[in-house]
Symmetry: C2
Subunit: 191 residues, 2 copies
């Protein structure tokens, strides 16, 4: 009797393999062949789930978005608004190896989406979701802020800049420095 | 008599061709063959200046850094520190098509540098230069700030986040919104 494989589990393990290939070789390194080898599958078996490189990439990018969303949704209210907002932002920043991997993969996808229409809709949906989240955070700390639109973009840009820096220069943009930057920002915003 | 070609001029026109290919097809599209075609040269003629894709990419990335640096160096002192700092930051942000092209190319190189050691030294040198520039800006507006390190990283992350957003979503991160964000930030920093 053939082994029964949970399709969801199989897809998740394939996505993890895509991430490892992206982090090691960039998106150029992703193909049905290289990912199959990384996941310990035959190329034919992998094609059963993902027929093309584009499908592999879109799935792996969606997984980043889903994971971040699940972590943010799991955050309960903190003792005060600043603490709650800080906890949400911590889930977006690459403060540990797992979140650093997500950030590296996200940056690679984001760049590829510039020239790959198949990834752009997914990239834009993530952008909108994060912008909406930043709007919620600004409203939580500074209800009816007179410069609301600018403050939302300021917070969102700050977070994405920190993510970019932590990926590029983990030696400079350390978790401690990122935390200090976010604390300064939230203290001013909540004044 | 063969036409005399200024080598510097030739290299600059090749770099411009690299930029156009990067913006249209991503870094994957850059090769001696595609860039030669874009620049209207034979591949043999191009190889006289750049033997490999890596040399082409490094030269085009260096050109972005040189152009930004030249524009920043040309800024004279404004009527007050906030105006001067704002003028410097304006040269870093993709507020017009030329600076948007630079930003797109810079983002593509930055991402490639994650997996290409040949580009990493150049990327890290640019990072250090911009971090130093942000330190100068913070010192100009808020001398001996008690949270100097965090404020430098906060300003630098904010700028890079705005650049990233303007490249990804020019419809959302408009020049007007970017300007409003920077104004808010500098007003608070200079308080």
């Amino acid at each position: 009797m053939p082994k029964v494989v949970d399709p969801e589990e199989r897809r998740a393990s394939v996505a993890a393999a895509v991430w490892r290939v992206v982090r090691r070789s960039g998106l150029d390194g992703v193909s049905v062949r290289t990912v199959a080898a990384e996941a310990g599958l035959s190329a034919g078996s992998l094609r059963h789930y993902f027929a093309t490189q584009a499908e592999l990439l879109a799935f792996a990018m969606q997984l980043v978005a889903d994971r971040v969303r699940a972590r943010v949704d799991a955050i309960g209210p903190g003792p005060d608004p600043v603490t709650t907002v800080r906890r949400v932002i911590d889930e977006l920043l690459p403060l540990d190896p797992e979140r650093r991997a997500e950030a590296e993969v996200w940056l690679a996808f984001t760049t590829r989406a510039q020239v790959d229409p198949a990834l752009r809709a997914l990239r834009d949906a993530s952008y909108d979701a994060l912008e909406g989240l930043c709007a919620d955070l600004v409203d939580a700390l500074a209800p009816e802020h007179p410069h609301r639109a600018a403050e939302i973009e300021r917070l969102y840009s700050l977070i994405d800049g920190l993510v970019l820096h932590a990926v590029m220069r983990p030696d400079r943009a350390t978790p401690e420095l990122m935390g200090a930057v976010v604390d300064r920002h939230l203290a001013e915003l909540g004044q």
